[in-house]
């Protein structure tokens, strides 16, 4: 599969996750969200940017509690929980947000 953004075609896996991490750009994230009828607002970007920074440091997406704690610090304690993250990313923060951030899909018993 692939995704076309601004006239360029980028390879993805069967579920639409970017095949090559370095292909990522904010426009790709927006295009992926668009396919899901999702408008990316500032709070979505806080999550996406945190995921990308964490991935750059640790080569893995953050565990859910690491993510909720970080988001709680940035956006306020009432938003530092997975309920809020599911509001932002209804298909699941670990999977949908990782996808928009250009990260591979988390695998395992999750």
């Amino acid at each position: 599969m692939s995704i076309e953004v601004n006239g360029n075609v980028f390879e993805t896996d069967e579920e639409g996750y970017l095949a090559t991490l370095s292909d990522w750009s904010p426009d790709i994230a927006a295009a992926m969200a668009n396919e899901d009828d999702c408008d990316l607002g500032d709070n979505h970007w806080e999550v996406i940017n945190f995921l990308r920074n964490y991935y750059e440091e640790y080569q893995i997406a953050p565990a859910v509690r690491v993510l909720t704690k970080a988001i709680g610090k940035k956006l306020g304690a009432d938003k530092g929980n997975s309920k809020y993250l599911y509001e932002l990313f209804p298909y699941g923060p670990a999977k949908q947000a990782c996808k928009y951030a250009g990260l591979p899909k988390p695998t395992g018993c999750v």
């Binding site: 893995i60 953050p62 509690r65 690491v66 999977k95 695998t107 395992g108 018993c109």
Partner: protein, 501 residues
């Protein structure tokens, strides 16, 4: 989301009482998981893609398995089509596809076995239902051996004890051997071999995650409870599913284990090298891969110099540990013989409870009304404690010690009769979401009954797959995703920290 698999389907209806559905031929013929990429086939020792002489390779593999495992031949020879298994499989009950009746699913392999390995099948194939190994048969194997979660409920009712799971494993091993393995399992096994766990969580990320959890417990309780990593000389090595580090509700169970170790005053450690309890080698039926994954646990235990190995809440891990570790990675002569080898975290906590070493404030769980889901591989393939049925008694006793309100689900859906969550055996993947939702039906019906009757608010479980599966499928049936909870979260919430007893 844009997907290469079916996401639109009808969720089965929860009826007033469970009904055995009329068959719907081909109802799940479209369901099959993504095929493994060449790199994830080759890293496991399989060919990267379908080999040209796949029939020859498949039959040679079948011959090898028949020679290696006496059980396979017995199971293939024995079925008399009595029908006892037909309505016992959650996937049949949820999908009505007749090929999901266990005997029919087994027949996909059995019919080919007859054609090539029995005299009657060689001479009079049509008389004995023997079939050629065609591409269509291979496709059916791929579809339907990935519509069995190897939960073995059908085996409980089979008068001959035919173990469907073993035939599914054989089917999957043949498939991988001709070049068509399953993406989900094979990618994960590759990650464990490279990094040490299913998630691919490297040591620095694991250390960071554990530090975060220590801070969280401190914030919540004011107590310094540690989650140690790679600490040589600890008494206990805890091997737990990596989902415990990563996901909810799993992570609250992990913090529960930490609180128990803290309160018991027993030194323990996790290992970054053996940071996975689950062993997906069993899912694909491949001994060599199962052995390699298990070996990491032995190596870590020796390296860290521990005296005991304890396994966290993980169903398939416990099956492999309890039933196979001794053969795979034994002998365990370096461990303390005064404790079970290996020991389940529930056995560990139960023992402390029995000795009055833990103090509980059960009112901490008074806002919850509990039921308990027996995980298939714990229920039917292992035991806990030193009494028959200990695997049923012990988790429930932990819940009762921690909670005031507990109600079991209907007897034909618990203990050895338990239904699989619908996501076990290597099927916990989004490309099989329709199968997972439909296969969860029998458990959802039993849950609905105790919700209606007793106002049950939470279902506790001791398996990472069960917890993730229920979080995913609950909303399809109108339940909240956070109704599933770890047994050790209940214990951790009620445990009085700080004083020693």
């Amino acid at each position: 989301m844009a997907q290469a698999y079916k996401t639109e389907f009808d969720t089965p209806e929860i009826k007033e009482y469970p009904l055995i559905p009329h068959i719907r031929k081909g109802a799940m013929e479209h369901s099959k998981p993504f095929v493994a990429k060449a790199q994830h086939q080759e890293s496991l020792g399989f060919p990267g893609e379908l080999v040209d002489n796949w029939q020859q390779v498949a039959l040679a593999k079948m011959a090898e398995l028949l020679g290696k495992y006496r059980s396979i031949r017995v199971f293939l020879d024995t079925c008399v089509k009595c029908g006892a298994c037909t309505d016992k499989c959650h996937y049949y009950l949820g999908t009505a596809d007749p090929k999901n009746m266990p005997a029919a699913r087994q027949d996909l392999l059995r019919n080919v076995y007859r054609r090539y390995f029995t005299l009657a099948g060689k001479l009079f194939p049509k008389l004995v239902g023997a079939v050629e190994l065609t591409e269509e048969v291979l496709q059916d194997w791929y579809r339907y051996y990935h519509q069995c979660s190897e939960c073995r409920r059908c085996s409980v009712y089979c008068p001959f004890g035919i173990d469907t799971a073993e035939l599914t494993m054989a089917g999957r091993e043949i498939l991988a051997s001709v070049g068509v393995g399953q993406k989900y399992s094979n990618e994960i096994i590759t990650k464990v071999q490279k990094i040490g766990n299913n998630l691919g969580l490297p040591e620095p990320a694991l250390a960071n995650t554990l530090e975060n959890l220590e801070e969280e417990i401190k914030d919540d309780t004011g107590v310094d409870v540690r989650l140690p990593l790679d600490e040589k000389g600890a008494e206990v090595l805890l091997v737990t599913p990596s989902a415990d580090f990563f996901a909810e509700p799993h992570v609250d169970g992990l913090m529960g284990y930490a609180k128990v170790f803290h309160q018991a005053g027993i030194s323990w450690t996790l290992s970054s090298y053996a940071s996975e309890a689950a062993n997906f080698g069993i899912f694909i039926g491949n001994y060599d891969n199962m052995q390699k994954l298990a070996q990491r646990v032995r190596d870590a235990a020796l390296e860290l110099g521990v005296r005991r190995i304890i396994v966290g809440e993980c169903g398939h891990a416990w099956r492999v540990a309890y039933s196979f570790w001794n053969t795979l990675i034994g002998p365990f002569d370096f461990l303390d013989p005064d404790y079970p080898v290996p020991q389940h975290i529930c056995e560990f906590s139960y023992d402390l409870i029995q000795r009055n070493a833990l103090k509980f404030d059960k009112t901490a769980n008074d806002h919850r009304i509990l039921t308990f889901h027996d995980s298939c591989n714990v229920a039917r393939a292992s035991r806990m404690g030193n009494m028959p049925g200990g695997q049923f008694v012990i988790p429930r006793e932990i819940i009762r010690a921690s909670c005031n309100h507990f109600h079991d689900m209907s007897p034909e859906t618990i203990h050895e009769h338990t239904f699989c969550c619908g996501g076990g055996g290597g099927l916990l993947t989004d490309d099989l979401v329709e199968l997972r939702v439909k296969g969860a039906l029998p458990r959802m019906e039993a849950l609905q009954q105790v919700v209606d009757e007793f106002g049950v608010t939470h279902m506790a479980a001791i398996c990472a797959i069960c917890k993730s599966q229920f979080s995913k499928v609950f909303p399809y049936y109108g339940f909240d995703m956070d109704m599933v909870i770890s047994v050790h979260q209940l214990l951790g919430d009620a445990l009085v920290l700080g004083e020693t007893h």
